[in-house]
Structures are given as C-alpha cells and as structure tokens.
Symmetry: C2
C-alpha cells in the first residue's frame, strides 16, 4: 500500500545537500561542500568539564522536564550578550531557546505562514530557510543580493506589489554568498519595512564570526518591533548540542512558545544546562576571537588559491566573516558538471542551484572554508583547479 | 504594531496544562497535575558516567553535526528491543530519532495532514497530540474509549462516513485514562483499518511501564504497513534528554526524515550518544522493573485512597501501567471547581476538559501517581478528599 502524504511534502525540495553530503562522507574526499565548524575549535575538554559540573551540582533537574521557554540563565546570557556586543536592549523574556536555529525557522514558519503567503528572500538565499519555510507552502519572492546587501529597488517593488508576510535575510556573512549588508542597507531595509505588515526574519548565525571590520548593528536595532532575530551556538560552541534561539517582542514570543510546546515541549534540559555552565566558566570572547583568527586565515588562503589557480573569468566574493566563499564560474560553465569532475579528483563542492528559489545560478558554487585545515584547503583547491581545467 | 499570525495559531488550544503547571510549581503544593517521572528513578550517576565516557572516547564527534536519522547504535538498540520485547521485526532503517515523542507527533502531522483532514482520536484523547496535530488544522473525530479500548462500532462508523487520514491512539496505559486496549480490540482495530487509506498512529510512551499483566503486541504487529509507531525514553530513562523515536516503514520514514531535517536538522548528537552509552552500560531491564515496581505501589496506594476517602459516586479506572489514574466525579460536580478548591488545600489536579476535542468531560480529573513519593501521595489525597467534601 502506498500512503497519501500531505500536499506540503511535494513542495519541500528534496534535500539536495543531504544527498551530496552523503556522497562526500568518504574520508579520502576533502569536502568544501558542508557547513561544519572546524573540529579543532570545539572545546571538547571544557564542555566535558561543564557536563561533569552540571551533574555534580544540578543533579536530577538537568534530566527532568523543564519549561518551554528554556533555561533562564541561558536566556539571560543571550540577552546580556546582545546588550554588551550590539547595544541591543532585550530581556530574557524576549528569548526562546530552540533546537538549533533551524528549529527557529520552523517555528517562525509555523507562527506566521499560511499557505500561499509571500516570503521575500535574498537571491541566492539560505537553503535551510527555503526548506523550513517550504513546509508551510508559501510563495517565495527572490530579492537580488548585491555586494552590500539586498537590491533596494527590487525590495521596494516587491513590497509594493505583493503582500509580503516575511522578509528573510542573513545580514552578516550570508549563507551562501559570504556577503555582509552595509550599515546603510540595514537602515534602508528597516525604513522600507517600517509601518508595513511585513516581519523581518534576521538570521544571525554568523554575526560573531566577523574577522575583519567592526560588527554592525542588527536590523532589529532599527526595526525592533517587526524583527524576529535568530541566533545559534552551533558556530561558536558546538553544533551537536543543537542550541539556538529566537529573540522577538513578547507578544510574538508568546506565539512562538505555543508553537514550540506543540512541536517538542522544550529543548534538551541537559544540553541547555551544560551549555550555560560552559559559557559561565569559559572565556567565550577569547574563544570567539580564536575562531575568527583561524577562519580569517582559512578564508584568505582559499581566496588566494582561487585567484592563483582558477582560470580567468572565475569571480568570487570577499567575505569579512562566516564560513563560506561564493564562486561564480564563467557563463556557460556548469557547477553540477564541476561537482562531478571535482568528486573524481576527490574534492567536494556545493553547486549553487538550490539557493535560487526561481531557478538560475547554474554557474555558482559555494565553498566552505571552516571545516578543513590549511593543508586540506591547499590540497583541495589544487584538486579543484585540476577539475576546473578539465 | 500588532502582527498578523498564521490561521493555525488560532486553532491551537492555548496551553491549559502549561498555565496550570505554572500555578502548581510552588514547592508547598503537592502536584498530581503534571506527568513527570519520579526523580528518584532517574539514574543521574549512571548518566553522568555515560557522559564522561562519551567525551573520553568519542570526543568531538559527540559535538559535531550528524545525520538526520539519528545515531545508528541508538537506532539499533531500539530495533533490537522491539524484536526482543515484542517480537516486532523492524530494522534500524525503520527508526528515526526525534526530540522526544512530542516531536514525533509534530513530524507525523507535517507529513500526513493537510488542513481539513480528518484525525480520529480516542475520547478522552492525549492533549499533547491534540496540540501537535492542531497546528496542521485537521478536523478531529472523537472515538469513545471503553474499558478495553476504543468503541469499535463508533470507529467503524467514523471510517465509513469520513475520509479518516489518521487514527491516533495510545493502546498501553493511555494518557489520560490509564486504560490499556485488550488484545481483541487491537486485532479488531487493525482489521478495520486494513485495506483503508487511514494511517494508525500508535503512541507507545508507556508500554514499558506495565506493572500488571503481560505486555500485549502493538497494533503495528497486526497492521505493519499502515502503522506509525512512536516511542520515548522520557519515561524509562530521563525526559530532560528529549529522546524519542518514530518507527515506520522505509517509504514513510523517508518523508519523516525530510520533515525532520527541515524542522531541526537532527536531534542533539550529544544527548543521543550519552543515551546510547548509558543503555549499553546499564541493565535497562532491571531499571524498568524497578520503575514498574514503584509505580505499581504508587498506583495501588492512590487507588485505595480514592476508594477510602472520596465520596460515593466517584469512579476511577484500574490502570495496569503508566502514570495516570482517571477519576470521574458524580454528574454535576465540576472538575474546574475542584481544581480551585484543591489548590486552596495545596494539592493540584488536572481537570479532564482539554482531553475532549468536542467538549464534555467537565466532571473528569487526571491524577498523576508517578511524580510524588508515597508520603506525598497519602498527604495529597487527604487534602484532595477535603477539597472534594467542601
């Protein structure tokens, strides 16, 4: 017997990345395809010590049911850090702990999207958000991404012509492009959205990983009421804890809490408490600086190898943070064909196609510079250059 | 500015239990309102030891991104245990790890339910399932629960008259009633559903907590293809790990994996590995036997206090497992009024109303016997009897 499934399942992109990552799991392949942090920058020993300490002091409370909103000391840490780092005035009652920032996107879709609602998204846009929102059957409207953020005229036209429910963007070191929105663009986007019904979903997974230039204020600072801001500990502590959050005004947070409770009651008490203890006992600023120092070196190395080894006509972005470089091949060259040839050379890349909700991007490639070490990057880029020349 | 929210948010019951649990959190209140395991039966020391051992041997893999399906040794444990305990022949490729069995329900809603689809559910039915499914805007059809399972004639009529997408039930020690479906009813339900388009969602959160009589085969045994079976480690290990699972045929599991990936990528790698290690190093059968022994004693004590102290006309169920007793007050008595009076006596109960998708149940009460210890149960039931007599 074949089951009937919900309509939404037909609208969710078959996970291209998942299929690709399966192919690239083999140890002899150097992978620039995923989005994993560098394993040497995950503080296993300190997290183990935090776990030991939680069991010693908290005991059974760390293993029992808990509130949906999340562990208060963790929410306080997040609110305090927003205040200190970005001058953003939010309290712990505006923070909901989620199972990674992927769950934040799912809950935002649940709370805001009816089938057919319009979601504006950067072009190229983050695949994980496209997947999460797709389950709520929206209509996507791409807004072209320029070197300093979204094309304002296109955004303005979209807002005029369509009833845009959500505008989703990644203003810091965007995934997949590595682009950071300028301060001017942030202010302009906020002023375009101000007074409209559109909610801005500000995905800030990479804001702490800024390795050149100063941190810019989030759009939420200019548009506090209508911005739902998401964050993640996956990039600065460890992805396996699955700890992220949503920061939104209390009225919206209240709905998100109802959705979260229906979705999984609450995130792991255990992981929340271990994380909170780790953050309390460690110098997280020093750890983040170390991550930035290493990723800066990785990014510079990868960029210089692109410039030295790749054929003329290949262009790339100039990230000031994050984990990704975005490469555009000369017109007519196919990134899917490159993917195949690269795999034969034992290096994996991610073709850019799935980041385009309206098709296109056939000659674009996303390269991850966080996961591999410098030797791996050097060897991998030579392999990739051979594949490109083939 | 007031935000617009999705239509589904208006259809999700405001969390009655959450509001009630907040009132009952005060330490001087003895609570029979929640559904927490007994804290003395959570093996903090052994889980701490498992965590230590995972960090020592697994290291960074326990903190990195992982596959959506879940940690293979944990999925193998679940499949093996189904085979050993219940003679159910499933492989690890039919198991998806979820963040508690609440997330299992959310994913099942995502994968199967379009707005307006019919979900048949026991009456009274589990509130967490009503909440999870509500977000997918179904139409609920209650099937009265008799002493040995659902009323077959009502189920048959519902299946004939409506295009039932899902039938959701808790055959072992049901929440809220404590009722266990008889073997005959399981076979009859399977044969009624066989050959139809209806998927049976078999929630088996309490199957291991059976303290009298032998374990019965799950409905999935009689209806393997069309049954989606969910399970949880919350009741036999610890709820704070948020570890549950879905067991379904590969074709269905594949859709559930896509939905899970869009929802939160995967459940905590860390919690999965610690749990797997704990299960490997502990005598889980002995631990489950101990839980059953204690809950049996609690249930017997609470039942005898109901019989001794409560006024004539109060009836109760006779659970053979699980965590809940279900009490029906004489007609005309209101469980909401009892809730208020009980709170004044510093004891909390859960009025049965939110378990009825079509209204009713005003004189029903759910009592949890797992969380409090025997002194607490004795004192609490005396307080409750005073409230009842008031």
């Amino acid at each position: 017997m074949t089951c009937r499934y919900a309509t939404r399942m037909g609208k969710t992109p078959r996970s291209f990345i998942r299929e690709i990552l399966k192919v690239t799991e083999s140890p002899e392949i150097i992978s620039f395809a995923g989005g994993l942090p560098n394993p040497a920058l995950i503080s296993v020993k300190d997290i183990a010590e935090a776990a030991r300490s939680v069991f010693e002091s908290g005991g059974v409370a760390a293993l029992q049911y808990a509130t949906t909103e999340g562990y208060l000391p963790l929410r306080e840490f997040i609110a305090d850090r927003y205040r200190q780092r970005l001058g953003l005035d939010v309290g712990p009652d505006e923070v909901l702990i989620t199972s990674g920032s992927q769950q934040a996107l799912d809950l935002i879709g649940k709370v805001f999207l009816d089938a057919g609602d319009v979601v504006a998204i950067e072009r190229p846009g983050y695949l994980g958000a496209i997947q999460a929102f797709s389950l709520y059957e929206p209509c996507f409207c791409p807004v072209p991404l320029e070197e300093d953020g979204p094309a304002l005229s296109a955004l303005e036209r979209t807002l005029e012509e369509r009833d845009v429910r959500l505008f989703y963007g990644v203003p810091n070191s965007q995934n997949p492009s590595g682009i950071t929105w300028s301060r001017e663009k942030r202010e302009c986007v906020a002023s375009l959205l101000d007074g409209t019904d559109t909610v801005f979903v500000e995905d800030d997974a990479y804001g702490e990983l800024r390795f050149s230039g100063r941190s810019l204020s989030p759009v939420k600072k200019y548009l506090p009421d209508s911005t739902v801001l998401t964050g993640s500990f996956s990039k600065i502590v460890a992805p396996g804890l699955r700890m992220g959050w949503i920061c939104a005004k209390p009225e919206t947070l209240d709905r998100l809490v109802v959705a979260k409770q229906a979705s999984d009651l609450h995130s792991s008490t255990f992981a929340q408490r271990v994380l909170a203890r780790y953050l309390q006992d460690t110098d997280i600023d020093a750890h983040v600086r170390e991550i930035c120092r290493v990723y800066d070196r990785h990014c510079t190395l990868m960029a210089s190898l692109i410039d030295d080894l790749f054929p003329d006509g290949v262009t790339r972005t100039e990230p000031d943070g994050g984990m990704f470089l975005w490469v555009t091949l000369p017109p007519g060259l196919s990134s899917m064909a490159l993917f195949e040839r690269a795999l034969a050379e034992r290096v994996a890349v991610l073709p850019g196609l799935p980041f385009y909700v309206d098709g296109g991007g056939e000659n674009t490639v996303r390269l991850n510079f966080s996961n591999a070490d410098e030797d791996g990057i050097t060897e991998g880029m030579h392999r990739l250059a051979r594949a490109l020349r083939a």
